[in-house]
Symmetry: C2
Subunit: 375 residues, 2 copies
């Protein structure tokens, strides 16, 4: 295992002239310089990272770039969601311009989804769009945020409301850097991995049920799980680059999940995104059962797997208590557009059989939530 | 003239799925609501404008939108280049989000190039790209900045270094609003009109020599000159949407012009952009003469026309004095990339016969500037 010279797994994101590779494998960061130099000869780089990731992995990337003759500066931001702001964006843009990079040079976001969204956005607006290479270091970033070209920041009005679609030239997912991620963050990212199985890959979900411990431990199963997830996301992105419709299934578990994040004031001590998604996916399956769309066995199976890896699955798992069903519905309605008393939900006919349900009556959501709150 | 019901002139910018119309004619602002409602039924709008333009034309646009049943809010920024900043961008983005607009709703920059660049950029990043409709009110904005999808702001590192390519759904150029523009700003915009003739439309330049007074006075010649200019720019943009090369000819007069703007500290009391371009175009023709590329008659003809409309054409026309040739060359080198002691210039073989000259030796530029400074 961890053989630096083994060929990494590769997933291609097919977007015509904007197509790119995702490389996945252990210790890839040490090969990053060579992989970049081969594809983008002569570039200079600005690495953008956060203080946590810098401590653990910045030197490795810097060394690798230096060995490949790639001149690189580093811009370090504070860890956490609050860095996805206009103020930090301006700092990053300024740092890139200080480094006198041209359009064909690269920005390298080295970090989780926060750094990827922030620095990806910056690279999309400096000189009206520079090249960039994603180097995701959280599981969530490797299987989700680094793939698909969505970049952005938050404002007082809400999350991810400002940004651009900007595709990277390359994604380098070093699966060994995940060993320094906290177990809680790893589990949160795993919720998104399981999501791809639950959307439309039942064999992948069954594989995860058998192999999740190996995925957590690292090694070839981890590479496999991340590659399958990237492939799943890449397929969706290829069908709907600018999110005009087809990406909706990716929101499985997210309607409930976002409402829970809002209800807990985005306080990561109480709930991180992936935990909200885990509860949301369990709820989406139970809601589908209650609507006689799916069998209770499927809902139980999903809940059992998420619980086995240590993810929360019930509303009562959220520490600190939740508001009532009416208030949760208000949060849901804020996230989604409500049209004529009905909501759009991702529901399911069973494991790997999710679908977009338009016109779900809010009254049904409300009575489901009332039941779920008492469990 | 000024018949509100006459069909406006129309120029099509051909960019596949991103194609759009430029409507040009007197009193079009009064028809803006109807033109928008016809093309984008059901939209809501946020108008972004500056205090000068608001005073003169905001009520007209608001009335027109209201008549067409388009709900619109207004965001007013301070006039002038300093509004092309991160701080004002954040304000505009915030105002658009306050109005709760969706991706398919529209931002309407109503103003000169400053408002167009700033609000066009904001519309390009809110919800990762909203629709927008340019309503340019300066001559420069009508013939240049509102066409082609380049948007952006300035930073301490330089002008227009941050932004996106984002094409509008429609451009509405009301030629009568130019009557409230200061004569100096009108002349400055006219330099860009003349530029299109000098690049590759000799008949247009000849037409301008005959008809410029009617263009300044308003009426059908003004519409004609703006339409010809938009067509010229649209042709270039269609060939090179993302400015990968072919747009270079649009920089005729701009290499010298930008150096003069820098040398006068971007002080618009001394020199506005179009004035720098006018001097720059005259210099480009004289430089081409000195290099035996063009006949002195052509250079004199260009200078005579620009001087006739009241534009500056010589370095000595810049009030407050200029630095020496060496220093001017430094400013030129900052604007352009210098490779191996040579510069890229737009030179000419005569009126309407401009071309991109790579590898112009800096020594030749220097000796030309020394001569030009003593005239
Ligand atoms: N662009 C998209 O398509 C998309 C999709 C999903 C989520 N997102 C965004 O992603 C963000 C969440 O991403 P995230 O969960 O990676 O958050 P994050 O970037 O905040 O990372 C989580 C924490 O882990 C730390 N960390 C990351 N990698 C580490 C490593 N290898 N070792 C030690 N510590 C490490 C970080 O410093 C941070 O404290 C959100 O802002 C969300 O909106 C974007
Ligand atoms: N995006 C592009 O492709 C492109 C191309 C060329 C220039 N530009 C940009 O355009 C900007 C310059 O544009 P500009 O010359 O229009 O400057 P501007 O927007 O500052 O307008 C000039 C002045 O005229 C006023 N004004 C505008 N219309 C008026 C009207 N109808 N009546 C009364 N006053 C009016 C404005 O308030 C301002 O004071 C620069 O920032 C430049 O970088 C962009
Ligand atoms: Zn998610
Ligand atoms: Zn210009």
């Amino acid at each position: 295992m961890n053989d630096v010279n083994a060929a990494p797994a590769k997933v291609r994101v097919s977007l015509g002239a904007r197509s790119y590779d995702i490389l996945i494998g252990p210790d890839l960061l040490r090969r990053a310089g060579a992989e970049i130099a081969r594809r983008l000869p002569g570039v200079r780089a600005a690495i953008v990272t956060d203080a946590n990731v810098a401590e653990n992995h910045l030197a490795t990337l810097q060394g690798s770039l230096a060995d490949a003759g790639i001149e690189a500066s580093a811009i370090i931001v504070a860890p956490g969601e609050r860095s996805k702001s206009f103020a930090t964006l301006e700092e990053v843009v300024s740092g890139i311009l200080d480094a006198r990079l041209e359009r064909g040079d690269i920005v390298i976001p080295l970090g989780g989804g926060v750094v990827g969204d922030l620095a990806g956005f910056a690279s999309g607006i400096v000189r009206r769009g520079m090249h960039f290479v994603q180097a995701p270091t959280s599981l969530l970033a490797q299987v989700d945020s680094s793939v698909g070209g969505k970049t952005g920041i938050n404002t007082a009005h809400g999350k991810n409301l400002v940004g651009v679609f900007h595709q990277p030239q390359l994604v380098i997912a070093d699966t060994a850097v995940l060993d320094t991620l906290s177990p809680r963050e790893f589990r949160a990212g795993y919720a998104e991995v399981a999501k791809y199985g639950l959307i439309d890959r039942p064999e992948f979900f069954a594989w995860l049920e058998k192999n999740w411990q190996a995925v957590f431990a690292g090694g070839s199963e981890r590479v496999e799980a991340i590659a399958q997830s990237c492939q799943a996301k890449a397929d969706v992105v290829a069908r709907d680059e600018l999110e005009k419709g087809d990406r909706a299934l990716l929101n499985l578990g997210h309607t409930f999940g976002h409402a829970l994040e809002a209800a807990t004031g985005y306080d990561s001590a109480r709930l991180v995104h992936g935990e909200g998604v885990a509860i949301g996916m369990a709820l989406a399956h139970r809601f589908s059962t209650q609507l006689n769309l799916a069998s209770p066995d499927d809902a139980e199976r999903v809940e059992a797997h998420l619980a086995a890896v240590g993810l929360p699955t019930r509303l009562s798992d959220v520490p600190g208590g939740l508001p009532g069903a009416e208030q949760l519905l208000t949060y849901i309605a804020q996230d989604k557009k409500v049209s004529r008393g009905a909501l759009t939900f991702i529901l399911t006919r069973g494991v790997g059989q999710s679908f977009v349900a338009k016109d779900v009556p809010t009254s049904q959501v409300l009575s489901f939530l009332e039941g779920a709150l008492s469990q």
